[in-house]
């Protein structure tokens, strides 16, 4: 059976340090404004009592990628073997339709190359048995690649606050939400 690879982002472990984002940027030598993975602050009342919470997101390698549907030149393919959504920059004409279509705003326009750019789940690394940069460089080991056809981890969600409705494109990314701890705050 073909694989269905997706990110599993453990928000409980994430400390919002941005190492995933910057190591990806460093490895792929991306332009300053370009990010294939970003870390965003979540509402501080996420679990009830105030906390500092962050979520790290990249391309969600959706089951029904809106980018692929929107692209007029067929620059997007969803790999049969593992479901990774690959953007072919050679074919890209920079029309930005994909960026508008993606409910997560993942494909980003690179004004220097005049092309779109997005996370490839480091498929060339996966193909040689290495894990994606963000996975292997997160100091908290908060990002994993899971074959969701093989494992269905319990207690995960595909929706976090500020995130688009997963019923649109069926993103493969799953999240582990933080568990609220006890807090004794001064009055």
């Amino acid at each position: 059976m073909a694989k269905k690879l997706g990110f599993l982002v453990n928000i409980e472990r994430c400390i919002g340090c941005h190492a995933c984002e910057i190591s990806c940027k460093s490895f792929y030598q991306l332009e300053p404004s370009m990010r294939r993975r970003t870390v965003r602050e979540l509402p501080e009342d996420l679990v009830g009592s105030p906390v500092r919470a962050f979520v790290s997101t990249a391309c969600n390698h959706c089951d029904e990628p809106a980018c692929q549907k929107a692209c007029p030149v067929g620059a997007y393919t969803k790999r049969d073997e593992d479901g990774i959504v690959v953007h072919n920059q050679e074919l890209c004409i920079g029309c930005q339709m994909c960026g508008k279509a993606c409910p997560y705003g993942v494909p980003q326009y690179n004004p220097v190359k005049k092309k779109m750019d997005k996370c490839s789940m480091c498929y060339d690394r996966l193909d040689v048995g290495e894990s994606p940069i963000c996975v292997s460089k997160c100091p908290m080991e908060a990002i994993e690649i899971v074959d969701y056809n093989e494992v269905q981890p319990s207690g995960t969600v595909s929706l976090v606050p500020t995130f688009a409705d997963p019923s649109i494109t069926h993103p493969t990314t799953q999240f582990i939400l933080p568990k609220p701890g006890k807090q004794f705050r001064r009055a």
Binding site: I15, S26, P32, V51, G181
Partner: protein, 733 residues
């Protein structure tokens, strides 16, 4: 276009005229360092990997793997051979390629015409050495000694070879030194009184703990690699308690977070101790056999401390204190990590002593996975060969003179007989990092010559006469250890130094050479030497035995990193304390010698006055280490301006909304920055993060007074700074 033949004659006319005018040979002649015929083919195009060591003032002190292609760095990441770094760097470490290759590095020695004018002229290294050496010799002639020369160097780079700067100055005679550290002195003294020295368990042992209290520590921001072990422990069932005035990133991950009134941590520890004593939850055998002064301590506690009092004092409810006390006392091993933040108070040292006592009477000291962990120095036993050359023969005087680094400006201005006339600044940015920067500037004004060695333009360089360009870790050789974990990391030279940058050690050799040229015998520091030979001289038998590695070369050939013998990774496992009694000292005569109460007592906290009612805490920021990193644009893309955090209820009182500009002011100064409203800070406290100087004309230190903490003189020579006993008023700007 080039169809017509070059008229050689005419060409020579114009160019020759220019060459004659400039008094130089024609371009292309050997007179310049421009293009030259290609040397024999070099095969440097293959991918190479080098081991480097992050030398910053950081718990994590990572081992780095650097990928070099065509002689340039293409990727920098963590070394997997180091089980603490685990092949992963923090966000800051990931920016190293940018730090090396930003076009904005300081490239050449330069001299400023008019301090602060921004009018810089480029000078050669020889000119720089000459100006500096002549000034040093003039000073020696005029004053009969070199005490008017002052060194202010500290933690910007902890490569052991960087002690060459200290060594170079010791090699010309006795000088004035900025002594102490703004960081840890109160806590370090407290542990020195209690146990003889500060000595922490291996942070990888968080995995072995049954119970963890992070007390005023925020490793999620300041020690991401430790946070990994803590999170892993938590996931396998260890309870994580965080005690902090702020709901930090770390507190956000706690099983239980306890918000404490700032500067009352000692009261909480004593309240817990009272409960533990009352309930007989302490280890009687341990306190009888391995400690002195326990009975005196019991009388103090029984007479002065109640849990009710502690609850009142700390704002933590009595049942919570009791429950935490019981849980801590009955979990074995239980691990406490005391952060540097909680001792930055006028009663900080005494509070650390109380927490130490809590760990001692529950016999959590000397246990793997336990401990009362603060800082350690067991792996730092190098030769410090660079500091070993001594003053030249016939030097007058007996010793260096010290000024307090934590009140630097004022003490430099006060220094007399002789006054201070020249300053050498390395691995520091005092104008951004010192309290009361305006006083520091006044001290600078009094100098004849200010020399600063640095990587990037900053406020201190702006105010210097000469700037010397220094290397990044990737362009030099070194050896690094941590004050927290137990690894030793080799630092190989991965690339050629860019431009005319030099390491502090090379600068020391160059200056010594010039001094000796101008006055033979005026400096004992070696005038030449190979960097690898220098680093090999740092190894001695103790280091070899501790790490099981023969030499730096062996270390770099075998993975670039090695962990110290397991024996030293459990602090005080043999229970042979380095106190005068050899035991744990609840009652410390040494403390009395330094003017303190012999017991871990509660000292009243520093209080706000009516005019400045709001406490202003300035903790460490996640995208920087002190004044380093936050100015790097990769991180600027994440956060590009400083801010002040305040509780929405406090903001409402002053009609302040999110992002409104706020004036934060007290007697020392003021700054204006946007508000970030958050319930993660208490209602009577505002928070500004430390070290921000990019694109603003202030630092958070503008309203930090040089208020000393209670301890530090014993182990560090000087007390620390009560950074967090800073009170301000705020208004909407």
């Amino acid at each position: 276009m080039l169809a017509d033949n070059v008229s050689r004659r005419t060409f020579l006319k114009g160019s020759a005229a220019l060459s004659t005018l400039l008094g130089l040979g024609a371009i292309g002649s050997k007179a310049t360092n421009g293009l030259v015929p290609t040397a024999a083919a070099k095969s440097n195009s293959q991918k190479q990997q080098f081991f480097n060591a992050c030398p910053r003032n950081c718990y994590d002190t990572c081992s780095i793997v650097t990928t070099v292609e065509d002689g340039r760095i293409t990727f920098v990441t963590g070394n997997e051979n180091n089980h603490y770094t685990k092949g992963r760097l923090c966000v800051k470490g990931n920016t190293y390629p940018r730090i090396v290759y930003s076009p904005d590095r300081i490239k050449y020695p330069m001299r400023q015409k008019g301090r602060g004018s921004g009018n810089w002229e480029r000078i050669s290294w020889d000119e720089a050495y000459t100006i500096i050496a002549k000034k040093m010799l003039d000073i020696k002639k005029e004053y009969g000694n070199t005490l008017p020369i002052c060194l202010n160097k500290y933690s910007g780079n902890f490569n052991i070879l960087n002690y060459a700067t200290e060594g170079m100055l010791s090699s010309i005679g006795f000088t004035t030194r900025a002594q102490g550290t703004p960081c840890d002195p109160a806590g370090s003294d407290a542990q020195a009184f209690d146990m003889g020295t500060a000595y922490n368990n291996d942070p990888e042992q968080f995995m072995d703990a049954e119970y963890i209290i992070l007390w005023g520590a925020n490793p999620a921001w300041t020690s991401a690699h430790s946070m990994y072990f803590i999170e892993q422990a938590k996931e396998k069932g260890t309870k994580l308690v965080v005690i902090d005035p702020l709901i930090t990133q770390t507190a956000s991950k706690a099983d239980e977070y306890i918000q404490i009134k700032p500067s009352t941590d000692g009261a909480l520890a004593l309240g817990m101790i009272r409960y533990i004593m009352d309930q007989h939850l302490y280890d009687e055998e341990w306190v009888n056999n391995h400690a002195i002064g326990f009975h005196e301590f019991v009388s103090y506690v029984k007479k002065n401390i109640t849990v009710e009092w502690a609850a009142e004092k700390t704002g933590v409810p009595k049942p919570v204190i009791e429950r935490i006390a019981r849980e801590y006392a009955t979990s074995k091993p239980a691990n406490i990590w005391i952060g540097f933040g909680m001792q930055r108070h006028t009663n900080g040292g005494s509070m650390v002593r109380a927490i130490d006592a809590l760990a001692a009477l529950t016999s959590n000291i000397g246990k793997k996975g336990g401990g009362v962990n603060y800082i350690g120095g067991e792996t730092w036993g190098f030769n410090y060969h660079t500091m070993s050359f001594g003053a030249p023969e016939g030097t007058e005087g007996e010793a260096d003179r010290y000024v307090n680094m934590n009140n630097f400006g004022a003490q430099v201005l006060d220094a007399q007989d002789p006054p201070i006339k020249m300053m050498w600044i390395a691995c520091r940015n005092p104008i951004a990092q010192d309290p009361e920067p305006n006083v520091v500037k006044k001290a600078f004004d009094q100098m004849d010559l200010i020399v600063t060695a640095d990587l990037y333009m900053n406020q201190t360089v702006e105010y210097s006469d000469i700037v010397l360009p220094v290397t990044t870790p990737f362009e030099t050789v070194g050896i690094n250890v941590s004050y927290w974990h137990y690894w030793m990391n080799a630092n190989e030279q991965a690339i050629k130094p860019l431009y005319e940058t030099k390491s502090d050690l090379e600068i020391a050799m160059g200056l010594s050479k010039k001094l000796n040229e101008l006055e033979a015998g005026s400096c004992t520091f070696p005038v030449s030497g190979n960097l690898v030979e220098w680093v090999e001289k740092e190894f001695n038998d103790d280091i070899r035995k501790l790490f099981g590695v023969k030499s730096w070369d062996e270390l770099r050939k075998n993975g670039g990193t090695v962990k110290a013998s397991e024996k030293v990774t459990v602090a005080w496992e043999d229970l042979k304390f380095r106190t005068p009694s050899g035991k744990y000292e609840f009652f410390s005569k040494k403390a009395v010698e330094y003017g303190h109460h012999p017991l871990p007592v509660f000292i009243e906290e520093y209080k706000a006055n009516n005019e400045y009612p709001i406490r202003c805490i300035s903790p460490h920021w996640k995208l920087g280490i002190h004044s380093q990193f936050q100015h790097i644009d990769w991180l600027g893309a994440i956060q590009d301006h400083p801010f002040v955090e305040m509780h929405p209820d406090l903001a409402k009182k002053y009609s302040i909304r999110e992002n409104d500009m706020v004036n934060v002011r007290n007697e020392a100064g003021y700054l204006t920055l946007p508000a970030k409203l958050t319930k993660t800070v208490p209602v009577d406290t505002v928070v500004m993060y430390e070290g921000w100087w990019k694109d603003v004309h202030y630092t958070e230190n503008f309203n930090v007074k040089a208020l000393p903490s209670d301890m530090g003189d014993y182990s560090k020579g000087q007390r620390g700074i009560a950074f967090h006993d800073n009170f301000v008023k705020i208004e909407k700007a």
